[in-house]
């Protein structure tokens, strides 16, 4: 295939990605150094209230946005350097908190709070997803042929359900006197308020995420299990390997590429955790990095969106993604080199 044909085939797709992904990335980077805001002017306003004999007049200075001839607020874009980053990171406060070793102070700064949650969330769910996925795959593989289809159907449901709706349904099971909270209370014989502190919400979020992603891992691993070499399993049995040893020395190494694949996908996706925060409405206790950017973008009461802070926090979020991607990219690069 010569270059021109290739270009004609991939052209539309590349154009869309350039226009809507590559170009926005550059503009986010640029935006994070600029702030667009109304120009404020200080004016003296005299307010008079009718009084007895004379009016009572108060003069005060108010700062208000300047208006142009049509009565619109004049906006001005200004280069502010690293100001937005400073607003997001609050380095002085963070540094003081770290040097004092006080975690509570650090976690009052939204960015660090979000970073802490995003990282713990990603790292704790990863092994759980892999182990649960592997377990379910082995179970499905063990089941009778006739029930495999229905079981896979049921297993796909948590994966296919709209994430926010999935979170909400878990939420409804636990909220207030939800059915599972009632069950827990009856079992532990004490009052439980699952939405009154951060850590219980975090546990619920992780449980939800494992429930949501484990089926994906299970299906992928199940497909991998079909290609395990039966002869080597049989010879392992003859050599006296126990079930566990067969699993450890034959099946798991065979599945290793798939485990890495699932881990990568899961790391990418759970680093962007967002739906959980929305569905549990947990912004008072727990927030994530992507939610932080989202929150800056949602208009506040005055209708202003802090675009430049959102850009700064998005750029900071992407540092994590860059670190995350180094490993698979190096691997792909090696494979590519080896393949040619």
């Amino acid at each position: 295939m010569n270059f021109r044909t290739f270009a004609a085939f991939v052209g539309p797709s590349v154009f869309m990605m350039l226009l809507f992904i590559a170009f926005p990335l550059i503009s986010v980077f640029k935006q994070s150094f600029y702030v667009t805001q109304p120009i404020y002017e200080t004016v003296e306003v005299e307010t008079c209230t009718p009084g007895f004999l004379t009016q009572t007049c108060v003069t005060e200075t108010v700062s208000q946005p300047q208006l142009d001839e049509e009565g619109k607020v004049i906006m001005q874009t200004q280069y502010v350097g690293l100001e937005s980053y400073r607003n997001v990171l609050e380095p002085e406060r963070a540094w003081r908190a770290i040097s004092e070793g006080s975690w509570n102070v650090l976690s009052t700064i939204n960015f660090w709070k979000a970073l802490r949650f995003t990282l713990t969330f990603t790292l704790i769910t990863l092994p759980l997803v892999i182990v649960c996925g592997l377990g379910i795959a082995v179970l499905i593989n063990n089941a009778a042929q006739a029930i495999k289809g229905p079981v896979i159907f049921i297993s796909l449901l948590p994966f296919i359900i709209t994430p926010v709706i999935g979170v909400l349904s878990v939420n409804w099971l636990f909220r207030g006197d939800g059915i599972l909270t009632a069950l827990l209370e009856w079992w532990l014989n004490r009052d439980i308020a699952l939405f009154a502190q951060a850590w219980t919400i975090e546990v619920l979020m992780m449980l939800y995420r494992v429930w949501h992603v484990a089926p994906f891992a299970a299906i992928v691993f199940y497909a991998g299990l079909q290609t395990v070499n039966q002869d080597s399993l049989e010879s392992a049995v003859i050599d006296g390997a126990t079930r566990w040893q067969r699993m450890k020395y034959i099946v798991i190494p065979h599945l290793m590429p798939l485990i890495i694949f699932v881990s990568m996908i899961h790391l990418m996706d759970s680093y962007r955790v967002f739906e959980e925060i929305v569905g549990f409405a947990s912004q008072g206790y727990v927030i994530s990095l992507q939610w932080l950017t989202y929150d800056f973008l949602v208009p506040d009461q005055a209708g202003n969106r802090s675009i430049s802070r959102a850009s700064a926090s998005a750029m900071l979020t992407m540092i994590g993604i860059a670190i995350l991607l180094i490993f698979p990219l190096r691997r792909t690069w090696r494979d590519h080199k080896g393949g040619h």
Binding site: V138, T162, L258, F261
Partner: protein
């Protein structure tokens, strides 16, 4: 297990099946439970006692319930519909539709089945039952509290059908556009071994990992002020892109594109290259080979990728909630809005009913396309 050496003892098989059953319950329970809740009056739906939620005494006390006879006949109608559709319909479609236009027959057949089911289930059946129930004594007495009023509230009073329409526009647009752009690119990438193709795929992989919120941060100011900067090109009628479904479609297609081209590429690599080589020998150029030889055999891959594009558009909340205004809002953000705004339990149950309404199509999707979804999930992984 074919081999005798690998046969498992009974106890192990039993344990394994018990755990599997446990997993199935865990997998389905939240979905099952919100479905049950959506049919109950608020008092029952949020009751701490599971039995009260299932049987719904308060709902029953309000006079909303169904009898044993209702249940039996209802299940009968559902079962009959399923049996008819799976056993009889394929044959009828084959008999009545023209050669090569079976898909059209399927569309009509399924539409007819849905309409017929709705009429029988919601019009004819209640009419018959209202006569039969008094005649059957204890069998005809209401035993299970069940009400569909929350669905009525959601779809009719709250204007959820408007959100449904918006979701329909956005998802259809995304699926059609991302497939037509993506199949071309996927084919090109699969057939070209050049370094450029490799780098494109790597860049796509990086794009796949980006958080959508970062991209939206850049779209927002541009979209809001678009009527100003588009004015020199388009004149007076320059649109404000903010709040417009087509702008969101373009954005979602682009965000979806990296994933789409990776998946389609792996499907195209499974189609032997000899096929297009043969077409080339017979005098086709690349585009003709693609159109006449590859397109007829690529449908499984395209359908699978289309399903995943559909899911992305259907499930999205971040992009749609930030880039669409209230009147063009899609279903998922609308439900979150309901959930956050409403404080009384009645309103919560209405939100539950809305959540169930948007989950139902997904469950049907899995029922119909289970094999395609599984193959899509494993396509990227197994072939590396």
């Amino acid at each position: 297990m074919s081999s005798r050496a690998l046969r498992q003892p009974l106890s192990l098989r039993l344990t394994s099946n018990i755990f599997l059953a446990f997993w199935c319950i865990v997998a389905i329970f939240p979905i099952f439970w919100i479905t049950v809740m959506s049919f109950k009056s608020p008092v029952d739906a949020f009751d701490g006692n599971a039995l009260n939620v299932i049987f719904g005494p308060a709902t029953l006390a309000n006079g909303k319930g169904i009898s044993l006879l209702d249940i039996i006949l209802g299940i009968g109608v559902i079962w009959g519909t399923i049996a008819l559709v799976t056993k009889k319909m394929p044959g009828m479609i084959k008999a009545y539709s023209k050669e090569g236009q079976e898909w059209f027959g399927w569309v009509i057949g399924i539409l007819a089945a849905v309409v017929a089911f709705l009429i029988v289930f919601f019009v004819i059946l209640p009419a018959i039952l209202s006569i039969l129930n008094p005649l059957f004594g204890p069998l005809g007495r209401d035993i299970l509290g069940l009400t569909t009023e929350h669905y009525k509230t959601v779809w009719i009073d709250r204007g959820f059908s408007n959100n449904f329409k918006n979701s329909l526009i956005v998802t259809t647009g995304v699926v059609v556009l991302s497939l037509s752009v993506g199949t071309l690119a996927g084919y090109g990438l699969a057939r070209s071994g050049s370094t450029l193709a490799f780098w494109l795929l790597i860049v796509a992989l990086i794009f796949r990992a980006l958080p959508p919120s970062a991209l939206v941060a850049s779209y927002l100011p541009v979209f809001i002020s678009s009527s100003e900067w588009l004015a020199p090109i388009l004149g007076e009628n320059a649109p404000t892109l903010y709040g417009k479904p087509f702008a969101v479609i373009a954005v979602l297609v682009a965000i979806n594109q990296p994933f789409t081209i990776w998946m389609l590429r792996s499907f195209f690599q499974n189609i032997p290259a000899e096929l297009d080589e043969a077409a080339r020998v017979d005098g086709c150029n690349h585009f003709q080979a693609f159109r006449r030889v590859i397109m007829p055999v690529m449908w499984p891959g395209v359908i699978t990728t289309g399903l995943f594009s559909f899911l992305l558009a259907y499930n999205d909340i971040l992009v749609t909630s930030l880039l669409l205004d209230a009147q063009n809002q899609t279903m998922v953000p609308a439900i979150v809005g309901m959930f956050n705004r409403e404080t009384t339990t009645t309103d919560q149950v209405v939100a539950v009913a809305a959540a169930v309404s948007i989950t139902a199509p997904l469950i049907f999707l899995v029922l119909i396309f289970q094999r395609q979804i599984v193959s899509g999930l494993t396509a990227g992984a197994v072939k590396g």
